[in-house]
């Protein structure tokens, strides 16, 4: 059988903008956007009254400073979430991305400090993400090991390597991002990742193949799609996302911290699920993940802002994750 080449060409008749419009006006994205708006209104109203003195302050939550901070604190989850969306729609999962943040940004700091060149450091950071993604994909596809297991192993490898690269301790960065970069780079990178991710997934032949492979690998193979290659590329994308998240981590903290990123892969998976992507593959969207990550991020920021104790924050965030999926399920019986 003549195997189809990997194709980034636009789909005939495929239209990312039209797809976006239809998603926003119908179905899940509409529910998600409503939940997001409800959260913002809730925090705005709750924070308007200073409960200890009974005075009103306005605007308190709804300010540009808060909006930028929320964007910054959501950025890593957004970027990991987009990569994770590709991995999950393709029928896999990537548990390594959280700890890969530690490895990629530690490499950025170590290499940039050693060579005196930020660009070389950035290349090491993104290259490491891609290499880890390639290793995840290739081992899992070539030897038919579930990606859950391979990426679980990679998570541990990345954790250890981050420690080795950093010499077992946090290291300061010789390059400190100026305040504007600290504030706007995370937002800029996450927006670009979302837009590119959405266009690739909905508007290219490759994107269609990802859905096909995740929906039914056997059918896809019979249709001449190179299933293994598509799967490997989804993990490359997820690895690249981890590299970009490493860049964002550095820009926010100007630090090489080998313990960073603990548990963030689960946060990203939660954003993907809230966003309506099916864990069994073949169904999902980048826009959904984007909204899912924002719902979790605005909720978390608001809880901090309202001084809700951390332990309760977990209870509330977990409940909202389940409730959002439940609302969608009830709205569209299957």
């Amino acid at each position: 059988m003549a195997a189809a080449r990997l194709s980034w060409h636009r789909v005939a008749g495929g239209n990312a903008v039209a797809d976006l419009r239809s998603r926003i006006t119908t179905g899940r994205a509409f529910v998600l956007a409503a939940v997001l708006v409800a959260e913002i209104i809730l925090w705005t109203l709750l924070s308007a009254i200073d409960w200890s003195t009974g005075t009103v302050h306005w605007p308190y939550f709804l300010t540009w400073d808060n909006a930028i901070d929320i964007g910054g604190s959501c950025a890593i989850n957004l970027i990991l979430g987009v990569g994770m969306t590709f991995a999950i729609i393709g029928g896999g999962i990537d548990l390594s991305v959280g700890r890969l943040i530690a490895l990629t940004h530690v490499l950025l700091v170590v290499v940039a400090n050693a060579t005196g060149s930020f660009v070389v450091g950035l290349a090491a950071c993104l290259g490491c993400g891609l290499a880890a993604g390639l290793a995840n994909g290739a081992v899992s596809v070539r030897f038919r090991i579930p990606s859950f297991i391979v990426t679980l192993g990679m998570m541990m490898v990345a954790r250890g390597l981050a420690m080795v690269a950093a010499g077992g301790k946090s290291i300061g960065s010789d390059f400190s991002p100026p305040l504007a970069v600290q504030r706007f780079l995370p937002i800029g990178v996450s927006l670009v990742v979302m837009i590119v991710g959405h266009v690739v997934l909905t508007g290219t032949v490759f994107g269609r193949h990802v859905f096909a492979v995740g929906g039914s690998a056997e059918t896809a193979r019979l249709c001449g799609i190179r299933v293994g290659l598509i799967r490997i590329v989804t993990f490359l994308i997820s690895g690249l996302a981890a590299g970009l998240a490493g860049l964002v981590y550095w820009s926010r903290n100007s630090l090489g911290d080998p313990l960073a990123g603990d548990g963030l892969e689960l946060y990203a998976i939660a954003a993907v699920i809230v966003g309506g992507t099916s864990l069994s593959g073949g169904r999902g969207s980048v826009i959904g993940t984007f909204l899912g990550a924002l719902i979790m991020g605005v909720l978390q920021y608001g809880l901090h802002f309202m001084l809700v104790p951390t332990h309760w924050q977990w209870v509330i965030i977990g409940s909202v994750v389940i409730a959002t999926v439940l609302v969608d399920r009830l709205k569209r019986p299957q």
Binding site: S52, H57, T63, D65, N66, D69, G72, S73, I76, G167, G168, K169, S170, I171, G172, S176, L179, Q182, Y249, R252, N253, S254, L255, D257, L259, A260, D262, Y301, H304, F305, L307, T310, H311
Partner: protein, 315 residues
């Protein structure tokens, strides 16, 4: 501890308190700390809250659950600035990573009081951060004290002329208090003429300490003591010693004086720890933040006295 030492401690405490005292103002002060499940930081928070109440200060205390969630703690700094806090008292999760978010506080003219774990002077200088004062225990001296006590205990049991061998469980390398305690332990061991048989980081965690101590004990079955940079790791070392049937006989000391360590001392499993007075540290933090807010001068560092706690103190 000698009577005269107590007098010096009391005098030092009185002076530091006098140095920071003033009447309250309804000012909004944020306490941003870490490891909310660690009794040490719970005591610090309580001390700060009580002092804030006494001074009429509005204290908003927030913390991260882990010791190490640098990114989340940075978020908390930004959140508290958005809430309009007027001064920040911070116990940093990372002495390097916290500098970047704090620079923004400085630009907003919000004074910063650094407690517990000193912000890296190099990184602060690089980014132009100036804190009002640092309030913290002398970790090196505290570790040297408890380390020397452990070495004395071991010496009493050893035959004349035999060299004691000890293990060191370190905190997170590169973090100032961890480095200071390690230096204090090493100084005490050197002063006693002992030898460090093994030294590893267990990142302040009990479980990790158990694994690390087990491995070190397996490799060095002849060691006489384990010096742990905090009590949580000492608890892990106790579990490891128990598994090898060496509990009670091997000298284990820690740092922080948490309740579980006191119980372990009552059972004879642990032999000493250091009380750092976290409640006093929190209280001083609030007082000094208020002073900084009023533009009053503060010393570069404000030491909090530490004291040695032995099984005699907990009975």
């Amino acid at each position: 501890m000698k009577y005269s030492t107590w007098i010096v401690l009391a005098a030092a405490t009185g002076l530091t308190l006098a140095g920071c005292q003033d009447a309250g103002s309804g000012a909004r002060i944020a306490l941003i700390y870490k490891a909310t499940t660690n009794p040490f930081f719970q005591a610090m928070e309580k001390g700060a809250a009580e002092k804030a109440k006494a001074l009429g200060v509005r204290l908003e205390a927030v913390g991260i659950e882990s010791e190490t969630d640098v990114d989340r703690q940075a978020d908390l700094v930004r959140t508290m600035l958005s809430r309009g806090t007027q001064a920040i008292v911070i116990a940093p999760a990372s002495s390097v990573g916290i500098v970047t978010p704090l620079v923004r506080a400085q630009e907003a003219k919000v004074p910063i009081v650094n407690i517990d774990n000193r912000i890296s002077p190099d990184e602060a200088a690089k980014q132009g951060l100036k804190v009002a004062t640092f309030i913290g225990p002398d970790n090196r001296e505290g570790a040297r004290t408890v380390g020397a006590y452990a070495c004395d205990l071991i010496k009493k049991k050893l035959p004349e002329g035999k060299k004691g061998r000890v293990l060191i469980l370190r905190g997170i390398d590169g973090v100032e208090n961890a480095e200071a305690r390690r230096a204090g332990f090493e100084a005490a061991v050197a002063e006693a003429g002992f030898e460090v048989a093994g030294s590893e980081s267990a990142h302040w965690h009990t479980e990790e300490a158990q694994q690390v101590a087990s491995a070190l004990l397996a490799a060095n079955p002849d060691v006489h003591g384990i010096l742990c940079a905090n009590d949580k790791m000492a608890l892990g070392a106790i579990a490891a010693a128990k598994a090898r049937g060496r509990i009670g006989e091997i000298i284990i000391v820690g740092y922080d004086n948490i309740d579980l360590a006191r119980e372990a001392m009552k059972r004879g499993e642990m032999h000493a720890t250091i009380e750092q007075n976290p409640a006093m540290m929190g209280a001083l933090g609030v007082e000094c933040a208020l002073q900084a807010l009023k533009g009053e001068p503060l010393p570069e560092t404000t030491p909090v006295p530490t004291q040695l706690i032995t099984p005699d103190d907990v009975k």
